[in-house]
Subunit: 427 residues, 2 copies
Amino acid sequence: MSQINVNFNNLNQFISDSDFANLQEKINLAHNDLHSKTGRGNDYLGWLDLPQNFPVDLMQRITEATERYRKLYDTFVVIGIGGSYLGAKAIIESLSTPFGEPKSEVIFAGHTLSSHYHSSLLEYLKTKNPAVVVISKSGTTTEPAIAFRLLKDFLRTNFPNDYKQRIMAITDSSKGTLRNFADMEGYTTFSIPDDVGGRFSVLTPVGLVPIALAGFEIAQLVEGAASLSVDTETDLEKNQIYKYAAARYLLHEQGKSMEILSYFEPRLSFFAEWWKQLFGESEGKENKGLFPASACFTTDLHSLGQYIQEGKRNFFETFLTVAEQPHSLKLKKEQFNTDKLNYLEGKSLDFVNQKAFEGTAEAHLEGNVPNLEIRLSHIDEFTLGQLIYFYEKAVAIGGYLLEVNPFDQPGVELYKKNMFRLLGKPS
Amino acid sequence: MSQINVNFNNLNQFISDSDFANLQEKINLAHNDLHSKTGRGNDYLGWLDLPQNFPVDLMQRITEATERYRKLYDTFVVIGIGGSYLGAKAIIESLSTPFGEPKSEVIFAGHTLSSHYHSSLLEYLKTKNPAVVVISKSGTTTEPAIAFRLLKDFLRTNFPNDYKQRIMAITDSSKGTLRNFADMEGYTTFSIPDDVGGRFSVLTPVGLVPIALAGFEIAQLVEGAASLSVDTETDLEKNQIYKYAAARYLLHEQGKSMEILSYFEPRLSFFAEWWKQLFGESEGKENKGLFPASACFTTDLHSLGQYIQEGKRNFFETFLTVAEQPHSLKLKKEQFNTDKLNYLEGKSLDFVNQKAFEGTAEAHLEGNVPNLEIRLSHIDEFTLGQLIYFYEKAVAIGGYLLEVNPFDQPGVELYKKNMFRLLGKPS
């Protein structure tokens, strides 16, 4: 059963029933290309069936290794960039509380070239009992490779007797320099499947190992995704993933150039970052695609809100909302009603937040911004697993509708090529 | 002397010298409207001269009050939303290290309606010796008013003897319910100038009190801003603030609908959020303006990079770079050159980061993305003060070029109106 419900009502004046119906045939073709693995980028469709076929022994190996690490060490530095960073960070932040000690500390590195960042990290680690997880398919991506040099050196200096046991590598199953080096050094290793691209890899060891190190239920994440992956309904009126993909495509065809993902829970902010990579990299090519932006409400109603309400009308908005919350702070009556809030006596903050969402959706519609709502029943591993799969499948179908390859990222190479030339890298 | 240098070279193929020259007259008019205070929104121009005329006694009062608080308490919860939140957070994050204990802890609240966020905060504060700074001009803005109820209640319960001394209020100088209540309760108070709007208020007590509580040199911030505010040069070839405003306007006229602020230092991420409010709220009205987006590189080159390189061509990019860094991590030679990085032996991470920037600017130009660079000599209070003033003045001129009022935000009201109706607020 899906923990996700999509409400398309605020699109009614922009997309008619017949617009959707006319797209059904194209949706069927995209569905067939995807499931028969005959479409573009069909070498990278491993994510499609992996959740329902997730190898039991792999799940067990991850659980055992991460439990062992959690007993031995207190801080885990995860080295990765792009898909080797955003998925794990998204899930960990979505499931964590913002203040106080985490179950166990997971820190990310290798996603920036800042000295300031890495200097501060190395200083901090002197007070900790750390382990390192390096995630890189090739082992030669500049940012994570540099961070791994720094952290390997740190471990070798500070823990000369057992530093190799403190390193876990998640890399290619057989080729690549990191695989060879990890095997030579005797690190604990996990493999990145050949047929899963970086931005689709959160439900492989790439995401699951760091999430398990943070203390969360990775089996539930995979199960959530698996519960959606068995649905092969193609009727747009019955498959809300496809209807979301269809709505995005129709709005793109109408000339919209941006989708804003707006959410009302601050802990979803890195989930939005993960979404931005998934959609921006999958669709942003051949001068096509929707630029993925995000906003945290109500915070950003006092920032981007003005533009959304009255700026250029070239975007639409998708609200990501949550029905039930684990906490319920209620407002009390006060003797001096100076802030004029006594009318909210007995109401919870979440009730106010929900009304803020409803008022915002209505206001933005009035401002001529097409909008829709993706509503989660609550936030836990199972539901986030569903949401991951929801978006992965939506962007795959969306890419096929746009007639681009949703699984490549040719535009990421040019800055690297230029950088290597400027750095004088030997060819 | 300006610590900021702007490089417009990568705009050459999009904006000609004569395009700039033809705009000079309009720039002169905007300049005159601004400095003679005859343009739209001229009730809100207090920020223009405040830095150079900053009252000595006010600076002293802020310094004394915040030093006293820093001796008495260890954690400061700052309650505010929009301009009463972003400016202080931007400066504090830009000047802090990401790991380890801060000089003193400043936490923000009242910028979200999430129960999860505030429950976690209240739980955390039980282990601390906290004080609260509430920032609201009226005292009735929903989000901060709710947070203030929760935190006032927390202090009253946990520190019954001295809870009033633990509260500081930054509010209107004479009217408004928070002013009355604060005076009645005997809180330490500071005033928000009548002629400075929220998003321009970081160099008033609104931003300066929290920044001083975090342990940074607020006098230097103001001095930095003041050093730019005395410049009244209008020639586009001599005033880089005006040339930046002109370039943005010309690109907007060419049909660009978005500016992406891309930076290479993660600690600038909230500076980018501050910038998004400043520009989005000032310009995004009457169906005009550039949507403000941001990207942290090289991180997001592995996320938004693909779209920027090859997606729709309806935006331009402004790089915010930093010449000198306080730390210098260098790469060492390794015995096994498995990551193929030995060619970088002796090079610093910042050198690599700089080459990544240069390679990116070149790649995006090749991808037909107009771009420019705003380069800071380094990051400190004085330089950030200059940068704040740089952007404030640029957006004021930019708003006048667009023929909108850069100092209002009429579109922020509608969601509130709807929310109040849905909450059943008595009229």
